[in-house]
């Protein structure tokens, strides 16, 4: 029944042309077809956040997005974002604050946190907690994760005000 559907998309800066079963999730596509295992599978119905990836500039649930829906689009996974920028700052803060143990939730947490830092640079602690409530962690108890994110927000605010300060 299911014919393979051709798709063409850019993942972490590289263009791929493949044929996929329509039912293939985006997260399964990046993991199995492209070998990018950094994004994880948890609940497979959108609540745990472990599969969070970036599609066309927005964080999405990789398990609630079909690979065919990403046809013509741009996908970024944790592997593609770790070299610089928000993710790298967050990763340094996560390490410093011991914000990961088994690491299973971490890539999803970082994707969610990246969007927060970009969209809500003035977020306070309560807002950070609300924002990441869509990502489940079973190991850390969350406080260290919130600490790490708040630190990155703080660093960026300080850097921004330094730049605005009169010479």
């Amino acid at each position: 029944m299911a014919d393979l559907y051709p798709i063409r998309l850019t993942v972490n800066g590289q263009t791929h042309q493949c044929s996929v079963e329509p039912r293939t999730h985006l997260v399964d596509f990046v993991r199995e077809t492209l070998g990018l295992k950094g994004s994880h599978l948890g609940c497979e119905h959108g609540v745990c956040g472990a599969c969070t990836v970036e599609l066309n500039g927005h964080s999405v649930r990789g398990c609630l997005t079909l690979a065919v829906q990403a046809d013509g689009g741009t996908v970024n996974t944790i592997e593609g974002l770790s070299r610089a920028g928000v993710i790298r700052d967050l990763q340094a803060a996560f390490v410093q604050h011991n914000a990961l143990q088994c690491g299973f939730c971490t890539s999803g947490m970082l994707m969610a946190a990246k969007e927060l830092v970009e969209q809500r640079p003035d977020a306070n602690r309560a807002e950070v907690r609300e924002w990441i409530s869509g990502n489940y962690c079973r190991c850390t108890g969350y406080h260290a994760i919130v600490d790490a994110i708040c630190e990155v927000l703080q660093q960026r605010k300080a850097a921004a005000s330094l730049m605005e300060a009169p010479a």
Binding site: E21, G49, R61, L64, L66, D71, M111, G134
Partner: protein, 284 residues
């Protein structure tokens, strides 16, 4: 769990979509944001043969003011509504409700039209559409038609949409200076479906209320208007005594259905609590 196999097509026009629906009937399902549909498919609660992706219909996108109404295209995402200046100006109830919808990643993909067509009784947009007296714009084999929100939600996940109709937009009356609104949800965790949720709207002139609508989420098989309690508020000036009296009326008026973790009595009690809270904060 992975979904069962299905075919996929992404039509380029609404007429193609309608033709496919006519051809395949219940074997086909429309795919917009997919945040509810794909979850059902992943759990194999549904195994359609064909998914018709309407994401290619650009005419279904966008927020604009047209003919004295705020028109929100079906494919507008929850995040787009959350961040829209037009919505903040003309339908601020939606701006208040949007952050309650699941979590950011879901809001980035889920759509206004999808939520209203799915008609979950605990969802935010069906309740807001009903509270604002909005209109659904549907397109089918016989052309376009408009369905008032009061006539739209008919039963559990059941709407007035015909099987071959596509919801293309939702229209809302523009807020006026005398309009007031309040929105609240009580849920175990942020982003959960509401145990009880409420959208309040109306007009207020010199403190006197009129045209009040009280819409409840999560207590019945559709978003529920508490008409008897609405009538109690109209013509009155809001004060603490009225808020308490009205909360009691609401508790008596509704007959909530339970869910897995909340009895009808819990929901009844929480509905009164929520109404009182929202009315008291509206006074401030």
């Amino acid at each position: 769990m992975k979904a069962a196999a299905f075919d996929y097509v992404k039509p380029r026009s609404i007429d193609q979509v309608i033709a496919l629906l006519q051809q395949h009937g219940d074997d086909a399902r429309l795919l917009a944001g997919g945040q509810s549909l794909l979850a059902s498919l992943n759990m194999r609660l549904s195994e359609p043969r064909l998914l018709v992706d309407i994401g290619g219909l650009d005419a279904l996108r966008g927020i604009s003011v047209q003919g004295g109404q705020l028109r929100i295209g079906a494919l507008t995402t929850h995040t787009e509504i959350e961040g829209s200046a037009l919505v903040a100006q003309h339908a601020p109830l939606l701006s208040a409700a949007a952050p309650h919808i699941a979590h950011r990643a879901i809001r980035n993909a889920g759509t206004w039209g999808g939520s209203i067509a799915h008609a979950d009784a605990a969802a935010e947009w069906p309740a807001c559409l009903l509270a604002l007296g909005g209109t659904v714009v549907a397109h089918g084999p016989k052309g376009e038609r408009r369905i008032a929100a009061d006539d739209f939600f008919q039963g559990l996940y059941a709407t007035a949409l015909e099987p071959e109709e596509v919801l293309v937009a939702g229209e809302l009356p523009l807020a006026m200076p005398v309009s007031w609104y309040a929105f609240g949800e009580l849920a175990r965790r942020r982003g959960d479906y509401a145990i009880v949720g409420m959208a309040l709207t109306g007009r207020r002139s010199a403190g006197v209320l009129a045209d009040t609508r009280i819409v409840l989420m999560g207590v019945d098989s559709t978003p529920l208007r508490a008409r008897k309690t609405e009538a109690l508020l109209n013509g009155q000036v809001l004060d603490e005594a009225l808020a308490a009296a009205v909360a009691a009326s609401l508790r008596a008026e509704i007959d909530p259905l339970p869910d897995l973790t909340n009895t009808p009595e819990t929901k009844r009690h929480l509905a009164g609590v929520l109404l009182q809270r929202l009315l008291n904060s509206a006074r401030a």
